[in-house]
Symmetry: C2
Subunit: 307 residues, 2 copies
């Protein structure tokens, strides 16, 4: 219950950032792909296993400097059943290294079906009376609140039962997020501010020892003014902040997502860390070293703005 | 491109309905579960294989009377990798029997990630230069439009390239859908009406021979008045109509989702068909017969209202 476990890990590492594991095959160094194609074939299985090797090496290099990983489910689903296996094993591996695993799946549905999603990612699947097994076993999950409370409660129920978290899309980092999210309501608020109000409601009964609820919000780094306003509306809500780096959000921009306690936000970087080796003066074999150096650079940069 | 393939199948069967395959283990007759637990163990693998047997028997019994199946992804994801395998095989099996496969996954993300989802379900995954493989191979996918156009275009691109369809959540069937979707905008419209406008935009360039676009809309049977209004706003848009039966929507209610051409909507029933054997005077072994009888009853009932 509550956001405590994630916050504990952020404090331990002194690092309010999360590495997005969005492993396009183009990101994976050629020697890893070749090895896996040789072993499994140039097919979905070979590609998925290359991604698993890549992820594990990144986790090995990052786990002592970063508190959390955020696998983006889409990049695993595109390799079918083999990709899902890689996702499962990536989650388990990151957890075994002490990292908090926030699965980015943006799941949403009506109550009964949200319950199935909640079971899949945050809970345990009932096999027989008294025998329940975890399917994916993540620590947290991103969700979409378009369907309202009865689609969210099955997730908050598992947050309480298993000490998990969810992050609801409020203000997304992309340009056309405004097409629906920024429509002005009759009462003068924007649609995303109404969503923020719902997020407050959904988390209200789950405030933890650091003062934050188990229901976080996704607030893009690319809209710093909106983030500043949302920080005031959702004081007890942890922000997951995408859009830093490749999408154009800066450390200066993300500072507004933090509260005065230095907490309240975790900033994501995916491509910036995963592909750091393609930028600097690195050989392909040094991809994990490059990722670590970028992770440390990012940490220092963000921390310098919230001190 | 366009909705033509689905419409062709609806016309062939004279049946504007789709069977939702939302296979909770509780729905599966005990003898199927026992057989699979004996073969694979009482675990995620055994459960997922029981569901596959159940689905295949339902498809065998329904494929000549129903044009389409709608597997709900959540109910497969909850059995982890084994569940995903069952999903893949269910999709392939239904297609081999000539059914249109509409995957209910309500996926959504920003552009680059939507591209990965679109690849996973509607497109083909690139393995090497010139070698692409389908991951799940559905014919259509439900999506959530909260992130706006750049999150939708990767799906419409694959609709064009591979002749697929998407169905965007507009007005969902659940009670608390109203919490966001029915908020009134400054211009007097509701949020869901703004979403309907976006759906029109997203499909505008994909009108097929029957006059419908490749971008459909999810419009719940439980809100007939709203469906009537949305039918006028989205004239060229096919409606996927959940909420019939177990959720309270009647055939009388769903008639408003159709156009005067007798087309324009496909009505979903999940539990009503899957669990028909639990209602009537059936033995467990007759679950597929019961499903077929309910499917025929539903067809007659719906068709009687749209003639």
């Amino acid at each position: 219950m509550s956001m405590d476990l994630l916050i504990k890990k952020i404090k331990e590492k002194g690092n309010p950032s999360v590495v997005g594991l969005d492993p396009k095959l183009d990101y994976v160094p050629g020697f890893i792909i070749e090895k896996n194609f040789a072993e499994y074939g140039a097919n979905l299985e070979g590609a998925a296993n290359a991604i698993l090797d890549y992820n594990k090496a990144l986790i090995d290099s990052l786990y002592d400097v970063m508190p959390a990983v955020k696998p983006q489910s889409a990049y695993y689903e595109m390799y079918g059943v083999y990709g899902e296996k890689t996702l499962c094993e990536t989650i388990a591996y990151a957890k075994s290294k002490g990292m908090y695993v926030l699965l980015d799946g943006k799941r949403n549905d009506i109550g009964a079906t949200s319950e199935a999603y909640s079971t899949a990612y945050l809970g345990e699947t009932k096999i027989t009376e008294g025998k329940n097994l975890p399917a994916f076993g993540a620590d947290g999950l991103t969700v979409n609140g378009y369907l309202g409370s009865d689609g969210i409660i099955p997730f908050t129920d598992n947050c309480k039962k298993f000490g998990k978290t969810i992050f609801v899309l409020v203000k997304t980092s992309n340009k056309s997020g405004i097409e629906l999210q920024d429509m002005e309501l009759k009462d003068g608020r924007k649609v995303y501010e109404r969503m923020a109000e719902l997020v407050n409601q959904w988390g209200a009964d789950s405030v933890g020892e650091y003062g934050y609820t188990s229901v976080g919000a996704v607030v893009g780094a690319t809209y710093p003014e909106e983030a500043k306003a949302l920080r005031q509306i959702m004081k007890k809500v942890y922000f997951l902040v995408p859009g830093y780096g490749a999408q154009g959000g800066s450390a200066k921009d993300v500072q507004y997502s933090f509260n005065d306690d230095g907490l309240g936000a975790i900033v994501n970087s995916s491509r910036g860390i995963m592909c750091a080796y393609k930028k600097g003066d690195y050989r392909d074999e040094e991809f994990a070293v490059a990722a670590r150096e970028e992770a440390i650079r990012m940490r220092e940069e963000i921390v310098s703005f919230i001190r």
